[in-house]
Amino acid sequence: MSRSVPSSDEHAQPGVARAWPGALDGEAFEALFRECGADVHAYAISLLGERTAAEDVTALAFERLYRSRARLDHRRGTPRAWLFAIARNAALDELRRRRRQPRYELEDELAADRDCAEALEHVERRTAVHDALAALPPREREVVLLKFHGQLSNSELARALGISESNAGTRLHRALTRLREGCLQAERQEEIA
């Protein structure tokens, strides 16, 4: 893929998103945006399928987090977890308002843009991943997106989804298993073709 991934994949680096900054003041909030802005946008766009709506949700998530920064409790998760929980709610509200269901169909423009930039091998693999992801039930796909875009731990994932940690682990396991099966199926179809 010629274009860099929107955010760093490196979890190990501690930042304001992972380490509780104490007070989420102006500088800490800017740092949080630099660390997580692209990830939130990626999560929103993968859930909503539209850039404009994803931008609205991203802006709304940061807006809400800023307004509620005084109520943030470090015992209940990192700023990143809070941010993705807010973004999830905002995205689901947006879907409900538009009476739409979550889908995993990126706009043609985006897909073309993506295709042109990637090597053939990557394109094939990622197409398989894309199709497998699109075939997942929305609830399971959402877990995968939160896990990979939000880079949340299982406990943070549980908090964002409002379920228990064991339930979140079960749901994640099931989603990844189905994703794997979907990828294998896509591979077989390609071989047959």
Binding site: D25, I45, E55, E121, H173, C183
Partner: protein, 417 residues
């Protein structure tokens, strides 16, 4: 196409090791093909979405930086945080709290029938009456009368009392010497110079039940020290209920004001009344009878000195003897009237019940009143809490239901396919 070697597939559910392995791989801690496959999968998923638009990212970043700078410039003073206007929830809670307190005060207020307030207003029922021919008033400065008489009446009473005191003094002196000297001094400073007047007063003192006997004793000692005496007394002390003492005092009229002031210092005054009766006519009539009898005696004695016959002498002796009795009667009548003028009858009532002890400014009463204030405040708060608690529970239930409903609506988006 590269086959992605997903680990852990096929099992019914995740075990701790599977989850730990996944976490370690995504955190960059895990090594090997499996960890690499997890990281590749994440990279593939993340690469599926287009990057954030630089214009939007820049614009949003600028907005956040601007907001942060604005917030930093007007950093609120934590000490004055409570001065900030409350939000909708705070405003609603404040309105509910104020309403509950007002309702509680209305419910538990001291003006409600049958409810005693923290400091009861003295239930004064002053025995001020206005009889024909009697000039009565309450003493100025004792604001115990529910129907205070006009100021002119007070002044008239004081002036008359002054004149009475002077007249009584001279009358007493005159009575001691002889009848003609009993005439009251004229030209007093009052509105009724030369008048002879009789004073009376009644005073009701409030005391705690345990203090009734002691207060009655102190009233008696006060009467004696002022030159008076106790004509009658009745003290009734009960273990429970109202204790009461009533004393009839006879005090020198000249010391009535001072005596009443001293009585008022023994215990809080619940009620006070004073009355004045003009007895000048009675006094004049008695003096006239004494003068007539004395003049008749002089005439009889003069006639006796001129009597020549035995019969005249015997007759005059008999008449002089009768005249002596008349003079004695006239002197006694004049002394009685004079005594009425020189002494004032004072009825003292000492009431002792739980409520009467709350008046006055002693430490004990202050503590008692403070306790009652605290009790009523507690009652008000309790009633307010009783009103607020259901409202708070209702608000919490509504908020929970609203949150649950919104969450249900959100989650439903994920359930419908």
């Amino acid at each position: 196409m590269k086959v992605i070697p997903f680990p852990g597939g096929g099992s019914a559910g995740p075990d701790e090791a599977w989850l730990a392995e996944l976490e370690a791989a995504l955190n960059g801690d895990g090594e090997g093909a499996i960890a690499d496959s997890w990281r590749e999968l994440r990279q593939d998923v993340r690469a599926l979405v287009p990057p954030i638009a630089p214009e939007f990212e820049r614009e949003l970043g600028e907005r956040i930086a601007e907001r942060g700078a604005r917030a930093a410039s007007k950093q609120p003073d934590r000490r004055l945080g409570w001065l900030r206007p409350p939000g909708r929830l705070g405003a609603a809670a404040s309105v509910a709290a104020i309403g509950a307190v007002v309702a509680a005060v209305v419910i538990a207020g001291p003006w409600r029938a049958g409810t005693a307030g923290p400091i009861e207003a003295p239930s004064n029922q002053p025995a001020v009456s206005s009889n024909a021919g009697r000039a009565e008033s309450s003493t100025a400065g004792r604001a115990e009368s529910a129907h205070p008489l006009p100021q002119a009446s007070n002044e008239a009473f004081r002036a008359a009392k002054s004149a009475t005191a002077e007249g009584s003094a001279s009358a007493s002196a005159g009575a001691a010497s002889n009848a003609p000297a009993l005439a009251p001094a004229a030209g007093g400073a009052g509105l009724a110079p030369g008048r002879v007047q009789q004073l009376a007063a009644s005073i009701t003192l409030a005391a705690t039940p345990g203090d009734v006997q002691e207060t009655a004793d102190r009233v008696s000692r006060l009467a004696v020290s002022d030159g008076g005496f106790v004509q009658s007394s009745h003290v009734q002390v009960q273990q429970s209920g109202t204790s009461e003492a009533s004393l009839d005092l006879s005090l020198p009229s000249a010391k009535l004001s001072a005596a009443l002031a001293s009585l008022g210092q023994l215990a809080p005054v619940r009620a006070e009344s004073q009355s004045l009766q003009d007895i000048t006519n009675t006094y004049d009539a008695a003096r006239q009878r004494l003068g007539d009898a004395t003049a008749e005696r002089q005439a009889l004695l003069h006639a006796l000195s001129r009597a020549t016959t035995e019969g005249q002498i015997d007759s005059l002796h008999e008449r002089i003897s009768q005249n002596r009795g008349a003079i004695a009667q006239a002197q006694a009548a004049l002394q009685t009237v004079s005594r009425h003028a020189s002494t004032a009858q004072v009825e003292v009532t000492v009431l002792g019940d739980a409520h009467t002890g709350s008046e006055g400014l002693t430490l004990h009463r202050g503590l008692h009143d403070a306790g009652r204030v605290l009790v009523v405040t507690l009652v008000v708060l309790l009633i307010a809490a009783a009103l607020l608690l259901p409202l708070a529970l209702l608000a919490v239930a509504l908020a929970t239901a609203r949150r649950t409903w919104r969450r249900y609506q959100r989650e439903r988006v994920l359930d419908t396919r």
